[in-house]
């Protein structure tokens, strides 16, 4: 399986938009051949894809990005593997907790582990991350306790962790909005003279939002140290990426004056290298970068979704062959002295994680009723106080009744 294999499916599907004949027309010129010299395997109009590890687990050389993973140790590779396995396990546990009624909803990251672990592990502690609602793997890398992610899906809160605890912002559901917050945060870093950087996650669907374009504009104009990390998982609920763009998304950046790169989003090493490269640019004061991680949403959009209504299963099957975890395992098994013990231990750790998640979720108490009125304002608000008091009196009236009725 070659490089094309990861992108091949798209070429066919994109032909629908291609019927217009204008993409790659004379006037659109060199679009898509921006870094044509770097890779010969991607021919003609096929957009270039950075890939360091093939679906078969073969390491391919890449002059540009190899330096960013040059001194990675086997232990670190096993660490990435562990991250992906545990993230997937956590995700599966959450999905089944939803089925059991413990969660109201779950947005699975199945298939996107490499994009998230690769980019997440590229960040430094002082960097700041702005996720969408699906970055469970990035949260893991940032050290956010996975059970904290479940509160909002269980319906006990709208965001259950301190963003400043791990420099990992709350999940943002309204798509695209967080790219502006990330840009502003990065502007602040630059003002502070720090060399930290920011990663803003968003999806292929979100790329159409005006806010994302404005984030590109602001970050370019202020040269903000932000990496825009787009997980193109091919789908925005039921809409394929052709409904958002007729050229590869990474090319969007160029017209705003900063570079864009497409990386194999199922290649954890590639994602790590490209994100490191982009973060180092940011730290050096070279401004924003767009990384498009080309990956696939293996499962439903959320547990409320039924993908059989809009996509063929053979697509998913084809992508299974490019599984991010399987390919790193092949590599570990063939190129390192990782022994069975490692995998067995990890399996046990995985089981334990699943157990812990189940237990914590089931024990998660419902919030106190008065939480409705908490934190609406930092400095208080007379009306909130008034309504809280009325609510208390109203609640108390039932207590009275209960007492009267001898309950």
């Amino acid at each position: 399986m070659t490089v094309e294999s990861t992108a091949a499916r798209k070429t066919t599907r994109r032909s629908a938009a291609g019927k217009t004949g204008s993409t790659g027309s004379k006037a659109a010129g060199t679009t898509g051949t921006r870094r044509a010299t770097a890779k010969k395997t991607t021919g003609g109009t096929e957009p270039e894809l950075v890939q360091l590890l093939t679906p078969e687990g073969k390491r391919v050389k890449n002059a540009e990005y190899d330096p960013f993973v040059a001194d990675i140790t086997d232990d670190e590779l096993r660490g990435l593997y562990r991250d992906m396995v545990l993230t997937r396990r956590f995700d599966a546990e959450a999905t089944s907790l939803q089925r059991q009624g413990e969660l109201g909803l779950w947005a699975s990251l199945l298939g996107q582990e490499a994009a998230q672990i690769g980019s997440g592990r590229a960040t430094r502690e002082d960097d700041y991350v702005f996720p969408t609602y699906r970055e469970h793997g990035v949260a893991w890398c940032r050290g956010v306790d996975p059970t904290n992610l479940l509160g909002m899906f269980r319906g006990v809160n709208n965001g259950g962790w301190d963003p400043n605890g791990n420099n990992f912002h709350l999940y943002t559901i309204v798509i695209g909005s967080q790219t502006l917050h990330a840009t502003g945060y990065a502007m602040g870093i630059a003002k502070d003279g720090a060399d930290s950087a920011v990663v803003a996650y968003f999806g292929d669907g979100a790329s159409s939002q005006g806010d994302v374009a404005e984030a590109f504009t602001f970050s370019a104009v202020y040269n903000a140290p932000v990496v825009f990390f787009c997980q193109n998982n091919q789908w925005a609920i039921s809409e394929p990426t052709e409904k958002q763009t007729r050229v590869p998304l990474y090319q969007r950046a160029q017209g705003f004056g900063f570079p864009g790169v497409r990386v194999d989003g199922n290649d954890v090493l590639g994602c790590l290298a490209v994100t490191k490269w982009a973060l180092e640019r940011a730290r050096r004061g070279e401004g924003p970068t767009l990384v498009e991680a080309y990956t696939y949403r293996m499962g439903a959009h959320t547990t409320s979704d039924d993908p059989t209504r809009y996509r063929h299963d053979d697509e998913r099957v084809a992508w299974e062959a490019k599984d991010p975890i399987a390919r790193l395992r092949s590599y570990l098994e063939s190129e390192t002295d990782t022994n069975e013990g490692f995998f067995a231990e990890l399996e046990a750790e995985s089981e334990a994680l699943g157990r812990r998640v189940r237990e914590v979720v089931r024990a998660m108490p419902d919030p106190d009723h008065f939480a409705i009125f908490e934190n609406v304002y930092a400095d208080g608000h007379a009306l909130v106080d008034e309504e809280r008091a009325q609510f208390a009196a109203y609640q108390a009236s039932f207590a009275d009744v209960d007492v009267e009725e001898g309950k």
Binding site: G151, R154, I173, V174, Q209, K243, D305, L383
Partner: protein
Amino acid sequence: MTTQTATSASKNMALAKAINESLRKALEADPKVLVMGEDVGKLGGVFRVTDGLQKDFGEDRVIDTPLAESGIVGTAIGLALRGYRPVVEIQFDGFVFPAYDQIVTQLAKMHARSLGKVKLPVVVRIPYGGGIGAVEHHSESPESLFAHVAGLKVVSPSNASDAYWMMQQAIQSDDPVIFFEPKRRYWDKAEVNPDAIPGPLHKARVVREGTDLTLAAYGPMVKLCQEVADAAAEEGKSLEVLDLRSVSPLDFDTIQASVERTRRLIVVHEAPVFFGSGAEIAARITERCFYHLEAPVLRVGGYHAPYPPARLEEEYLPGLDRVLDAVDRSLAY
């Protein structure tokens, strides 16, 4: 709000299905009618309200759009200028705000700006309200934010029959209509008679007659008010229930007529009370019925707080007990 003629065409259907049927009828009747939005095509919308429409009317008329609400409404305006009648879907209440500028600044004002030369028959469908245990942004009731804006009409059906007919009328209207669909009633069934003759779009309906107090509501709260009236009846209180159906314009005449009889009014909505519809209704009805009211107009609605996480929504939303409590308070005057 229909004049039921006894035909066999009458069908029992869920509110969501009634809208689906209504859209289908409009698409059939007028080639200029379009349906646009995120996931409205192959998926048929996240609530299946547009189920099967793309299959039957094609991608040119039932259009999956890029994920950009301002773009959806902005291009719908352009399509309307070209003579189309777009019905756009905003996937959930909390996602209408990226389109807010296009709605209040362009959609609402272009008719006046053009001195009447331009008409924008655009319907913006918004599934709204809570009670379905959803995550943030999926349970809001922003109708006040549209009713305050001249140039828009704002309606919300409470049952399948109204949903069917009000959608027909909204699409036929030459004005932009913000069509709030009570998502937690999507699965509630009622008789829909496609041969009926519907009443006017902006007229309120007396759902249940009563003598002691009037409950006024629209959309998802109408059913609750009926339940309240049932419960109150058991205690010997006779409540009148109004389904307002339209938030802009509000049918003050019908409310006034009712209050002149019952002398007491409670307005119930899910939206926060502060600057909500209840405020406008209370202010105007108090002015109109100053000497009739035995008690101040009371309001039961959301608190001045962001819509809470699902496990708290029951406390946040008006429920049977909270409305009954307001009834007691009103009757105590």
